[in-house]
Amino acid sequence: MSQSEYCIRLIDIHKSFGSQAVLRGVDLDIERGATTVICGESGQGKSVLLKHILGLVRPDRGRVLVEGEDITRIKGAALSRLRTRFGVLFQGVALFDSMSVFDNIALPLRERSRLPEKEVEKKVAEALQMMDLEDSADKFPAQLSGGMKKRVGLARALQLEPDILLFDEPTTGLDPVKSYDVYRLFFETQKKLGYTSVIVSHDIPKIFNLADKIAILHEGQVRACLAPEELQRSRDPFVRGFIVRVMGSAHSSKNELSAELRKSYEKI
């Protein structure tokens, strides 16, 4: 695969906080237009890795290439220009709590585009309809449920039509129905807009049905980055061990995992 087919490349990323080494040489390539899921146990540095991609955290060593530009070395206008290509759904959603749902979704359009207010209102109304939030436009984030907040966050992240969408634990704290709603919206919007997505998630195996590649982060390194089907066929003892740990021994058998995955795909 040529370099241009990767829109993000993480090369030998090291990061420590004090004496704690969180990332110890992460190498990961994110394919353009594909969905890459980063999974791993809690405290393995998945969210820190996502913040490196966004340029919010600088590595102690290594490079983060976004569309060929090293985001760890650029600043100011060049960094802003690169960031306009990103949409982000934070783990805690990070909605502006003193703004209404409408204003939260309108913010990137008002600040980053030159659209007239009428056009902004039209685009926000469309987003609210798409996310099934028409009745919540005037509500404040504190008045919303967890699932509604995620949908508002997704609507806001999509406003500038990003090339790359990053999701940090998109379904944490949601019940299975609400999680399904978020995945459905993600699936529909990606089909429509064709963005590259990187998802940090614990939601295994449900998240497998959205993934083109699954990267397993363990002890500060990406130990495997495989397609879901390759993952289940893998004979690597670490990969098999990981599947047993996160999904239970019942899924460690090839056939049962395939059945589980097939069932998940059929749902969507």
Binding site: L56, R83, F86, F90, G92, A94, L107, R112, L160
Partner: protein, 261 residues
């Protein structure tokens, strides 16, 4: 011994880093303030928060400070047969020192602490990171309007404080204690010069600058200090912002007075 040196070195490095971060914060805020496109609405909203919101507290503080000055001044000056100089004593105390200093301290208590807490909560709930990710400059969007509004509102609040204080001194010295109203006004007019008014204006501008810078920076970088995380970190940052900005105002007051006298 070695451990003590190590701690001192750590403290020194941390202080140096903190000063550098504060200087960069100010630089980026100033850049944000002059960066096009200019939006007046966020500045007006902050003027409402800092200016209109502080009007009542400044009005009452100014009135009672003026009344106390009138009361104390009248009895002290009467002993020396100089009660006619009461207007000058009240006005000079207010214009040169108490007006700008007390206005700044009241604004720190009322608005500076709120500014620090607001930005601190935005930081810990990743709202500032979200702005960064949307390529919205948080210095320009969040901090610059506060600085511009402070520079506009605090000199005006100081003027209101002085005016109400002079009137409070008049009410006590002339209306309650039956001093000479004409002498009160005349001594005030004769003693307060353009230099005093200039000093008052310079002080209020400098204090506005200092208080917004310190309070906003404490909140904005709440995660970069060793105050702990979450609500406790924000609470300690707010306390520190109030203490540091109040002391800075008093130090700056001495420096400006010694330079302009």
């Amino acid at each position: 011994m070695l451990e003590g040196l190590q701690k001192f070195g750590h403290w020194g490095l941390e202080s140096l880093e903190s000063m550098g971060r504060s200087a960069l914060f100010l630089l980026q805020t100033l850049q944000g303030a002059v960066q096009a496109p200019y939006k007046i609405r966020p500045v007006l909203r902050q003027i409402q928060v800092i200016g209109s919101g502080s009007f009542l507290v400044i009005f009452f503080t100014g009135a009672f400070v003026g009344m106390v000055l009138g009361l104390q001044g009248y009895y002290t000056l009467s002993k020396y047969g100089s009660s006619s100089a009461l207007g000058a004593a009240v006005a000079l105390s207010l214009v040169r020192e108490l007006g700008p200093v007390l206005t700044a301290l009241m604004v720190i208590g009322r608005t500076g602490s709120a500014m620090c807490a607001e930005l601190g909560i935005m930081r810990i709930s990743e709202q500032i990171d979200a702005l960064d990710c949307m390529a919205i400059n948080p210095y320009r969007y969040l901090v610059a309007p506060k600085l511009l509004a402070g520079l506009f509102s605090i000199p005006l609040l100081t003027a209101i404080f002085n005016l109400v204080g002079v009137f409070g001194g008049y009410m006590v010295g002339v209306v309650l204690l039956h001093g000479n109203g004409g002498a009160y006004m005349a001594s005030m007019r004769d003693s307060v010069t353009a230099v005093d008014l200039k000093m008052c204006f310079v002080k209020s501008i400098c204090f506005a600058f200092l208080l917004v810078w310190i309070c906003a920076e404490h909140g904005f970088w709440v995660n970069r200090r060793s105050w702990g995380f979450g609500a406790e970190g924000v609470s300690r940052a707010t306390t520190s912002a109030v203490v540091v900005s109040s002391v800075s105002v008093l130090v700056a007051d001495y420096v400006i007075t010694s330079l302009m006298m």
